[in-house]
């Protein structure tokens, strides 16, 4: 699931060249939106699907009104700072809004289907299986989209040579919007899928955001496969690690591993560009 978050984050970083500090908020919004849709009686999978569409549109709107006005600064260091500030502000705004609407207490979300599946010596909850499948399918879908469609090709081209891309007839603004939309939808999906596991509260997005950041750096900026691989790696390490160490130690260990890796390989595991 870290893969989903990281993928969205690295899409925006790789293609638009900016840090989306509201990414965690997207996760949180996704969780709350699908929670609300389900509580209105809508079927779970349908809710999640609908939520993704809503998140996509939200992402596009954010790009259009909050990011695009700064587009004349693209490429300069102040652009990144600007975006960080704007998205951070958005994140806080969203969090406060949700706080006001839903209250700050932890809400537990019912799993899609209770019960477990026995797989050899392991007991996996149905919810986990459901999340896993949904997640993997989404990742595969995005991968195929980027590789084979016209827009996917445009995204890759834009990331590598923005000037040349516009010389091919590509309107960069449109692609940036779509990128933001996809990224938000993915984050929302992660939020919705993990909601039953961790329960939801307005600040729930930040931990995931941190993990997304770690995974993207670990996997290397500019590499989709790297991000996916790193995501799985982090997920595995975290889950396996908690068997031996307690939660607090986990973060320290993960960060430690990250620092070690960066010292040895500044590009990350699969990175194609530095920084």
């Amino acid at each position: 699931m870290y893969v989903l978050m990281a993928l969205g984050f690295s899409l925006i970083w790789g293609i638009s060249g900016m840090f989306n500090f509201a990414h965690g908020a997207m996760y949180m919004l996704g969780a709350y939106i699908s929670f609300t849709l389900i509580s209105w009686g809508l079927n779970a999978s349908l809710s999640i699907f609908l939520m993704m569409i809503i998140m996509f549109l939200l992402g596009v709107l954010i790009e259009r009104f909050c990011i695009r006005p700064f587009s004349s600064y693209r490429g300069t260091p102040s652009y990144v700072m600007n975006c960080v500030i704007v998205t951070l502000a958005l994140a806080i705004a969203f969090e406060t809004a949700i706080l006001l609407i839903y209250g700050g207490e932890f809400k537990t979300v019912n799993p899609v289907s209770p019960g477990v599946v026995i797989l050899g010596p392991f007991q996996i909850s149905n919810q986990m299986v459901y999340s896993f499948l949904f997640g993997v399918l989404s990742i595969a879908a995005i991968g195929l989209f980027i590789k084979y469609t016209r827009v996917g090709l445009a995204m890759r081209a834009l990331a590598q040579e923005p000037t040349a891309a516009s010389m091919m007839g590509l309107n960069p603004d449109a692609i940036y919007s779509i990128t933001f939309g996809i990224s938000s939808a993915l984050a929302g999906l992660a939020g919705a899928l993990l909601a039953p596991v961790y329960s939801i509260y307005p600040s729930v997005g930040w931990v995931s955001f941190l993990y997304a950041f770690i995974v993207v750096i670990l996997g290397g900026l500019g590499s989709m496969t790297g991000v996916i691989a790193a995501g799985f790696l982090v997920g595995v390490i975290k889950n396996v690690g908690t068997i031996w160490f307690s939660g607090q130690w986990m973060m320290a260990i993960i960060f430690g591993a990250l620092i070690l890796l960066l010292l040895l390989r500044p590009r990350g595991l699969f990175g194609t560009r530095v920084g």
């Binding site: 016209r150 090709l153 445009a154 890759r156 081209a157 590598q160 040579e161 000037t163 040349a164 891309a165 516009s166 010389m167 091919m168 007839g169 590509l170 309107n171 960069p172 194609t272």
Partner: protein, 249 residues
């Protein structure tokens, strides 16, 4: 401006592209001081001159890559000055920049496919690909190689092929022969004539006048942001000023 050719009004073919007194400024520095030129349909027109004279800037102005402060750029009698680069491509003008700007991590095929990005060209992608592979058989072999791994000459072929994928009516070429071995330069000149046979009009900026003047229909000499000489290839090749300044290769 000295005109050596027959006056403009006598030329029978319609000007496809016409620039009138454009002024371009880079911050405080004025790059173009009122440049006017015309490009006829199905012609190969060259802008020659020493580096820094404004040739690239002129092409970039047409392509929408730099802002024009004054003057007009007309394509098929429509005003296109200060349109965004992607809009200019949709109009039918494609540019090959001096530094090529290939997509380094995309393979040859993807680079070519990106060339036909605009809707008009995307639907004809397959037939255009065939056309490009016919023109450059080597590219077909190199299809799945990443663009950054290609040699200089191969990259040159790719960049021309990519521009052709957008089905342009006018192709702007900025310093295409720079840094190429003589054999490759000749190949590029051949290709330009092939392209012209396919009904594509070419406007090329070149520093080395000698070779390009052999194949052009019309040329403009540019110095210090202004056109100083204009004429057909015959006249310019025998003009003493041109010979002195530009033929000392």
């Amino acid at each position: 401006m000295k005109r050596l050719s027959r006056p403009t009004s006598e030329r029978s073919t319609l000007a496809l592209l016409e620039i009138n007194s454009i002024v371009v400024q880079y911050g405080k520095m004025q790059a173009l001081h009122g440049v006017s030129l015309r490009v006829d349909q199905r012609s190969i027109t060259a802008v020659i001159g020493h580096n820094g004279g404004g040739k690239s800037t002129t092409l970039k102005a047409i392509a929408g890559l730099v802002k024009v402060q004054n003057g007009t750029i007309q394509f098929k009698n429509r005003e296109i000055s200060n349109k965004a680069p992607h809009e200019v491509v949709v109009e039918g003008i494609s540019m090959i920049p001096a530094d090529r700007k290939l997509f380094p991590y995309l393979n040859v095929l993807d680079n070519l496919r990106m060339g036909s990005y605009c809707r008009r060209a995307w639907t004809k992608q397959d037939s255009n690909l065939e056309m490009v592979f016919e023109l450059f058989p080597k590219l077909k072999q190199l299809q799945s190689k990443e663009a950054r791994t290609l040699s200089g000459g191969e990259q040159q072929m790719l960049v021309i092929g990519r521009a052709l994928m957008s089905e342009p009516e006018v192709l702007l070429m900025d310093e295409l022969t720079a840094g190429l071995a003589p054999l490759l330069v000749n190949k590029v000149l051949e290709v330009m004539q092939d392209i012209r046979r396919k009904n594509v009009t070419i406007l090329v900026a070149e520093q080395s006048a000698a070779k390009i003047l052999r194949i052009v229909d019309n040329a403009y000499v540019m110095e210090n942001g202004q056109i100083v000489l204009e004429g057909g290839s015959e006249e310019l090749t025998h003009n003493p000023l041109v010979l002195e300044a530009y033929f000392r290769v």
